[in-house]
Structure formats: C-alpha cells, structure tokens
C-alpha cells in the first residue's frame, strides 16, 4: 500500500499555508514545506517554536486553523483516516503503557492497526528482536529503561510498516548510549523500508547526524531550509548548525519556550531516566 503511494507520488509531506492559532497566539504561521519520499527531514527550533504543533497537525491530532497538508498522498482534513493508516507517530511524551508488558503494548497496537492474526505474532517477534527487547518482552514497561521504552515506541509505530514515521523529539532525556542506539535504528528503518522520516528536535547534533534536510523554525515560521552541509557552508568552514541557528534567529536554541514547555520536557526527561 505504502509503496504504491510512493511511486505514484514522490512527495511524502506537503503543507499549504498551514496555520494554527491558540487564542491570540499564532503557534504555526503560514507553513509551506515539502518532504520527498524516503527523505529524512528535521524540523529544528526552540521550545515553543511550533514544531510539535506542526507535527500534531500532520498526524491529524490537531486541526489547522487555516491551510491544509497532504501526508502520504492524503489530505489531513478531508481524509484523516487514510493519513492515519499510512503514518507512524512517536510523540514527545512517553506513549508506551507502563502498566502493560512490552509484548502487550505491541499486541494492542497490532490489533488497532488491523494487522491480520497470522501476521501479528511474526511482526511482533521481528520488532522485539530488532529492537533487542525479546529478553524483556514479558516484563512490565514500567521497569524498562528510557532507551528501551523509546525503542519499544518506535517498534510500535512501525508495526504496520507505515510510509512515513513522525518522531517528535525522539531522544529527549536519553543518555548518549541510548541516543545512539535509537539513531542507529531510525537509520536502519530508512534503509530497509524506505520509510520517510519526519522528525522534530532541538538537538543540533541529532539533526546533523540523521537528517538530509532540515528547516529552522522560529516563532511559528520557517526561517531557513536546506541540507545541513549547505546551511553550515553559508556561515563558514568551521560552522555548526548552532551557529546557523543563531545567525538566522539572533537567539540560541536553548533560550526560549515557556513554563509549560519546560515542564513537559523535564517531565519526559524524568520519566526516561
């Protein structure tokens, strides 16, 4: 299903004047972007820049105030059900259920996505093996480490082999080892299944390592968009993505965001510790 969609249309995600307001606050302001199939795209910005709001709109969790988008060839407003069938989503918060085992989390996902009974056990086993979670499959997820939970969540979101995987801050709060293990698996999914990756992050290093195209988001707008290499070259030979970000926005990536953003990030970080 996903393959057919991709060959017919090489665009995985395209937004058309996407806009979202919360009262008087404009969280996402006239967003126009295009992500080709099988690409790995990173949306970068500070807390409160509008990254999560964008991803929530693209995954049909939040309706846009103005504008629309096509995801996997379907309109997010008129065909949300079709969009949902073709995407996987790993939210910034921890979405695996701590009161269930790893296996049960995967089983419930498989049933929600209508994976046929014969296929179900096979896919769950593959996912557990690939994420190196087979050993702890029958353990309650509340006893997992942060890295294990993240790997389980990615496994859950990939069970139905979606064309596009949305990752909202996939490694926030993880230690370097766990982070690398998550990165490695995201890369593999892309190579193996040609999955389009659409991620948000405020970790410049992560964007540099995983994404072949990045967009900087600032106050709800995109202020720069290109490959990490090209963006860095605009500044100078030794430049980092951080430097580019400061150049574009006049502020460092860690200096913005409100109380709620900070609370949420810390809360997630605390839970994965």
């Amino acid at each position: 299903m996903a393959d057919k969609q991709q060959s017919a249309d090489a665009v995985a995600v395209e937004t058309f004047g996407l806009n979202r307001r919360f009262g008087s606050l404009v969280a996402v302001d006239n967003l126009n972007l295009r992500v080709t199939s099988s690409a790995s795209f990173g949306l970068l910005g500070t807390n409160g820049a509008g990254k999560s709001t964008t991803i929530k709109m693209l995954t049909t969790l939040l309706p846009p105030s103005i504008g629309t988008a096509r995801v996997a060839g379907f309109d997010i407003i008129r065909e949300p059900q079709e969009v949902r069938k073709n995407i996987g989503y790993v939210s910034q918060m921890l979405s695996a259920d701590g009161e269930l085992t790893g296996y049960e989390n995967l089983l419930i996902s498989a049933k929600l996505y209508g994976i046929p009974k014969m296929e179900r056990e096979k896919r769950i086993k593959q996912a557990l093996d690939f994420m190196e979670l087979s050993r702890v499959a029958s353990m309650l997820v509340s006893h997992y480490s942060g890295g294990m939970i993240r790997r389980l969540e990615i496994a859950q979101s990939m069970l139905h082999h979606p064309a596009i995987l949305f990752l909202d801050e996939p490694t926030v709060g993880l230690d370097p080892v766990a982070k690398h293990s998550v990165w490695q698996r995201i890369r593999y999914l892309r190579q193996e299944f040609g999955t389009t990756i659409f991620m948000t992050t405020h970790d410049m290093d992560e964007a540099d390592k995983l994404c072949d195209r990045v967009a900087f988001m600032y106050q709800g707008r995109i202020v720069a968009m290109d490959s990490p290499v090209k963006l860095k070259n605009t500044i100078g030979p030794e430049a980092t993505l951080d430097d580019v970000f400061i150049q574009c926005t006049g502020t460092s990536i860690d200096e913005r965001g409100d109380y709620r953003d900070a609370a949420r990030t810390r809360h997630t970080a605390e839970r994965v510790e």
Binding site: T59, T60, L61, L62, G73, F74, D75, R78, E79, Q81, R84, K85, I87, Y89, S91, Q92, M93, L94, S95, A96, D97, G98, E99, L100, T101, E104, I108, S109, K111, L112, Y113, G114, L140, Q156
Partner: protein, 273 residues
C-alpha cells in the same frame, strides 16, 4: 472524499469495516483488562465499600423495619442497590484515567491509529463494564453469605450482569464526557464528587420510589441509575417486582448509552488540545 482507492463491492466492504470496528473496540478494552490482570489489588480494595453497606447499613436497617420494601427484607432490597452504587462509584471516576493517559501520552497513540473514534469510546465503556462485573461477583458472594434471597438461575444472573455492564458503560462514558470538557485532574476530582452523591440519593438504591416525595420521584425517573437498579433488583431478588418492566429499563439505558457515546465520540479528540 478525493482519491478514494478502488474498493471491492459495498457489502463486502461494510462487513470488513464492521469486523475491523469490533476488533479495534475489543483491543481498546483488552488493554484495560490486561492492566487489571497485572494489578488486581485495585479489585480487592473495591470490595470494602459494598461490604460495609451490606454488613453494617443493611443489617441495621433490616432490624429497624422502617422502610417499606414491598414484601422483601431490607437487606434483600438494598443488595441490588449497593451493587449498582459500587459500579457507579467506579465508573464515574473513569474519566480521570483518561486524563492521566493523556498527560502521559498514551492516549495520543490511540488517536493517531486508524481505529474509529467510536471504537475508541466504545472500547472504553466496555472495559468499564468488565470492571463492573468484578463488583457483581463480590456483591453476589456477600449477598449469598448474608442469606439474601437470590435468584441463581442462569437467565437471571445473565440479565443482572447485562444490566451491570450497561450501567457501567453509561456512567463511564458520562465520566469520559466530563473529562473531555474539564481536561485537568484537579477539576475532574471536584466534578466526580459533585456527580456521585446526587445520582445515588436521587435513585431507588436504598429506599423505594414509593417513599419519595413527588418532586424527588420525578427526578428519580430521569436518573439512569434508577432504571439500572430496577432491572437488577427485579431479576436478582426472589419475590421482587419491577416498577417499569425490564424491557423499559433496558430500552431507557441503551438509549441513554447510545446518546452518550455519540457525544463522547465528538468530544474525545478535544481532550488532547
């Protein structure tokens, strides 16, 4: 809808959708039931309240003989009322677990899945129904020990359980609607307290309709708990007569449930905004 994929004939399509719908509904309920299996302590602590009502309150008033119970002993009269009440008290706080899951991020995972919104809501009420069944078991055992004149044929027990599940589904869906409106745990706790006692005292749980002043009787006739108790009492207790008739009881309950599910389905996606 644009770009509708080539579809098989309609009847086939509909039956396939129907199967998918029930599979998703059952998956939502299954997640909850499995959690109960991992931590049955909750079920044990919930035995205390009905036990107190039956062993203390029921015993005292049986001897007092001040409440006209239509030819059955007071403890016979109150046992069905206490069953319905204990189911109500659990179901009415169901919404808080939904708010909790929203705060953790678990709910978002359900909402990005292709499962129908109706399936997500119905699955929740179904799992609340299963919790209600555990209360029925406890009350039956206590009532049996206390010498309550129970009808223990299969038909009666099945009807009682059906009434318990329907009532549980009604009040948990009601609770879900409240959760979608108030959205925070603190506010919800207040609402839960405000709702339970009026529902309980305006029903025929611990005194009959015939004893009520006419204004209270009118309110009682609008309270779904009254119909649930009437259905349970008339089938559970030997020698007890139904006021409205079981058919009316179930018709009223199912109509209310259908209405509540329709409202909850509309509101459900709002809880994450």
């Amino acid at each position: 809808m644009q770009q509708e994929p080539v579809t098989p004939p309609n009847a086939w399509n509909r039956s396939r959708d129907f199967v998918a719908f029930w599979r998703q509904t059952l998956a939502v309920a299954e997640a909850d039931v499995r959690k109960l299996g991992h931590d049955p302590v909750e079920l044990l602590t919930r035995m205390t309240q009905p036990a107190l009502w039956l062993l203390v309150f029921g015993q005292v008033f049986t001897h007092a003989k001040i409440i006209p119970t239509g030819g059955i002993s007071y403890v016979d009269f109150i046992a069905p009322g206490i069953l319905a009440q204990s189911v109500l008290f659990i179901a009415i706080f169901y919404g808080i677990s939904v708010i909790w899951e929203r705060d953790l991020g678990i709910l978002q995972k359900f909402l990005v899945s292709p499962a129908s919104r109706y399936a997500l809501v119905l699955g929740r009420s179904l799992s609340a129904g299963v919790r209600g069944l555990s209360q029925a078991f406890i009350v039956y055992v206590l009532a049996f020990i206390l010498g309550v004149h129970l009808r223990l044929d299969l038909g009666s027990i099945t009807t009682v359980l059906a009434a318990v599940m329907t009532g549980s589904a009604i009040f948990s869906t009601f609770s879900l609607i409240a959760a979608c409106i108030v959205k925070t745990r603190e506010r919800f706790m207040g609402i839960g307290q405000v709702l339970t006692m009026p529902l309980f005292f305006t029903s025929n749980a611990i005194y009959p309709l015939s004893m009520m002043p006419s204004w209270l009787r009118s309110i009682s006739r609008m309270n779904p708990l009254t119909y649930q108790i009437d259905a349970i009492r008339s089938t559970m207790i030997e020698g007890s007569q139904s006021i409205f008739g079981s058919g009316v009881d179930f018709a009223v309950m199912l109509a209310i449930l259908a209405l509540l599910i329709a409202i909850a389905t509309k509101l459900y996606p709002n809880i994450i905004k």
